[in-house]
Amino acid sequence: MSDLRNPLQRARGLGSAKDGVQHWWRQRVTAAALLVLGIWFVLLVLSLLHGGYAAAHAALAHPLNAALMIAFLIALFWHMQLGVQVVIEDYVHTRWVELTLQILVRFFAVLAALLAIIAVLRIALGG
């Protein structure tokens, strides 16, 4: 008896994907957020397209738009990472290549989100 844990305790919530339904749920919840925020984003861009720098800057300086944009960015890059992760899992079968790609995609997602959020904050806070 090297393991006193009940087998059910080890299996509960995990399954063949090793992380249970967590990934699935996160993908769906970020999708639901992006459904609303994505439509908002497209309408915002369409309304600003011919206003140039001044209109775009003024729009993002508004607290509501800045907050929605940051929410959009977090949901977007998170959803992107979750989706690309599944594609890599499905098609890249050399373990070290897969692992490297998975880590690079995460680094890109976090870095891109941080950069974009700092840009929004700089506009919103009048930097």
């Binding site: 992006l34 439509i39 397209l49 775009a56 992107m80 950069l115 840009a119 929004v120």
Partner: protein, 131 residues
């Protein structure tokens, strides 16, 4: 079991194309395209934060005919991934699995994504030429 009599797995070349498989593949393909497209969003926000000159330069870069063509593609990828994403969420809720409904909804998603793309670009060109 005799190896020679075992059925072969379906070969892609002889597979009859169906709307269900095309919509599924396109969901992945548009997802990848949109992941690359996040670079454009990143560029837009960074240039907007960097000031008027940089932002104007970025807008000039986007108005390049090749970029405009790619943007039409990205508009469709966005519209498609959004419409088909809603379909996926409904399917996750257990809806729309009867075969005729499944096929019908696939075609609705394809048609809707094209209509949205058309509407967006008709609006853009109508407002005063491509940006």
């Amino acid at each position: 079991m005799d190896q020679r009599t075992r059925p072969l797995s379906p070969h892609l070349q002889i597979y009859r194309w169906q709307v269900q498989m095309v919509t599924s593949i396109l969901h992945r393909a548009t997802g990848i395209a949109l992941a690359i497209g996040t670079l454009l969003l990143l560029g837009g926000l960074l240039s907007l934060a960097a000031g008027r000159d940089v932002f104007d330069g970025y807008c000039a870069f986007l108005s390049d005919p090749l970029l405009q063509l790619l943007l039409v593609g990205w508009t469709w990828a966005f519209a498609y991934h959004l419409c088909n994403g809603v379909r996926h969420l409904l399917q996750d809720a257990g809806l729309g699995f009867a075969k005729p409904v499944l096929v019908r909804n696939g075609w609705i998603v394809v048609a809707l994504s094209l209509l949205v793309t058309l509407a967006v670009w008709a609006y853009l060109l109508g407002v005063g030429g491509a940006a």
